[in-house]
């Protein structure tokens, strides 16, 4: 009976799901563990009390008042990975990479069976990479 009700799922779908799931679990674990350590008072890039005092401000003014920096890109947390809040941010980055991991993992299987779908995947990867690198290569466009 169970065999009879077994749905055939395209192998490319299964590879996409598996890759996405693994990266999601890693991202959630990193974000939550280091986020909790930050909340429990371990070393932080953003002082908790200063953040609360200024979190009503628009994001640019917030960073100017609290840390005295102008934020554009990812180096502000990637250069401070000894701080718990920055490590938690790294977890969020890993989470945001999960769909890209799924697309890249499924691409070879998609390409073998469906050329148009493989082309759509290529467009998705390009769009995704643009989303990631846009703040670095075009920091002022649309931002200020």
């Amino acid at each position: 009976m169970a065999e009879k009700n077994q749905v055939h799922v395209d192998p490319a779908n299964l590879v996409f799901a598996k890759a996405m799931e693994i990266v999601t679990y890693i991202g959630i674990a990193v974000m939550i563990v280091f986020g909790l350590l930050y909340l429990f008072g371990l070393s932080s890039f953003v002082d908790m009390k200063a953040a609360i005092a200024h979190w009503h401000l628009p994001v640019e003014r917030f960073w100017h008042e609290v840390v005295g920096i102008h934020i554009s890109g990812y180096d502000w947390f990637l250069k401070n990975l000894t701080k718990m809040d920055c490590l938690s941010m790294l977890g969020i980055c890993i989470l945001a990479l999960a769909p890209l991991a799924g697309i890249l993992a499924a691409w070879p299987k998609v390409g073998a069976t469906h050329k148009v779908l493989a082309l759509l995947f290529l467009i998705l990867v390009v769009e995704y990479l643009f989303a990631i690198f846009k703040p670095i290569i075009l920091p002022g466009v649309g931002g200020h």
Partner: protein, 337 residues
């Protein structure tokens, strides 16, 4: 009757959290704007809430949202963003950043299971996401640009959020779900991409096959929805599901699952804009993600026994209230009223 009382207490708890926060913030039960001005004038000393209580409040608030959301048919972000904008002291930038990460985490957690059951399909997802990812990135850029480039930018965003909430309210009020829509013929594009699949439907005890159609119209709709989702940090299930179900002819379960997959990809792309601008604060995001994740698990179990229609009406009431509060707050900020 027993469930009616339970839900009453659940919603009462939600409002008590919001009211309690507002009251403590300003020392008097006024609107959040007064609290923000007090904080702005006096720094941290303006708030009566000790720093360690904020994560607890956020956890409790999102935990309740997490229970309510699965039963009402809207994502947690759709409740979190407007209620937080109306009642909490955070800048709308940080609220949208947190809402986006919450929607992303929920969607990423659910999508693999949907795919394995055959309910979500990357063939349907791929063309729709190609369009909506671009517009969701644009939405994220435009939203942050408006709040930072104009002195009164945050008030425009708050008013626009209120109007979007009104739109969601009317979509929820008027849209009818079709469990198994009949697609007699596919359009040429959908046929060429073989937008079809199958899943096992336990209520019928058999495998059901489906195919979707009207892909060109679907692409236009998803472009618009992607922009709104990226701009306000909202998940877009409220709009994705009706488009997939009523326009493209996907069965309701397939529409919900495919919508989740699309949200996971769009929100992941939009998240980079918020990360690069520093609009994601772990202090807000971590307790919120924990709260909504745990709450959603309980909500999913309660869904078996609860009366969804009753919950949906209550959630629609909350959204209407949040819409009104956001529009009033924005108009007050612009000194129009």
């Amino acid at each position: 009757m027993r469930f009616g009382r339970s839900w009453f207490f659940l919603f009462l708890s939600l409002f008590l959290v919001l009211f309690f926060t507002n009251h403590l913030m300003a020392g008097e039960p006024s609107v959040a704007e007064a609290a923000k001005e007090a904080v702005a004038a006096t720094g941290a000393k303006g708030s009566n809430i000790p720093w360690w209580l904020w994560p607890v409040i956020l956890f409790g608030f999102t935990f309740i949202i997490g229970i309510i959301a699965p039963l009402s048919g809207v994502g947690g972000g759709v409740l979190f963003v407007p209620l937080s904008t109306a009642f909490f002291p955070f800048s709308v930038d940080f609220i949208r950043g947190a809402g986006l990460i919450m929607a992303l985490t929920s969607a990423l957690s659910a999508t693999p299971q949907f795919i394995r059951k055959g309910l979500a399909n990357i063939r349907i997802m791929a063309p729709l996401v190609c369009v909506s990812m671009v517009t969701s990135i644009l939405g994220g850029i435009v939203g942050l640009w408006i709040t930072n480039a104009f002195p009164a930018g945050k008030y425009y965003i708050t008013i626009a959020l209120g109007l979007v909430l009104l739109l969601i309210f009317f979509v929820m009020l008027t849209s009818k779900r079709v469990e198994f829509p009949e697609v007699k013929e596919q359009d040429a594009l959908s046929r060429a991409l073989d937008l079809s699949g199958s899943w096992y439907e336990p209520t019928l005890g058999k495998i059901l096959e489906y195919k979707v159609t009207r892909l060109p119209i679907g692409l236009i709709c998803f472009a618009a929805v992607g922009f709104i989702a990226g701009m306000f940090g909202l998940g877009a299930g409220w709009a994705n599901v009706p488009v997939l179900n009523l326009i493209m002819g996907a069965p309701i379960k397939v529409a919900v699952a495919t919508s989740m997959t699309i949200i996971s990809i769009n929100d992941a792309a939009a998240a980079w804009i918020y990360l690069a601008k520093g609009a994601v604060l772990p202090k807000i995001v971590v307790p919120s993600v924990l709260g909504i994740s745990i709450g959603a698990r309980i909500g999913a179990k309660l869904a078996v026994k609860a009366k969804p229609a009753f919950v949906k009406i209550l959630v629609m009431g909350i959204m209407l209230l949040a819409a009104a509060l956001n529009i009033i707050k924005g108009l007050k900020g612009l000194h129009i009223i």
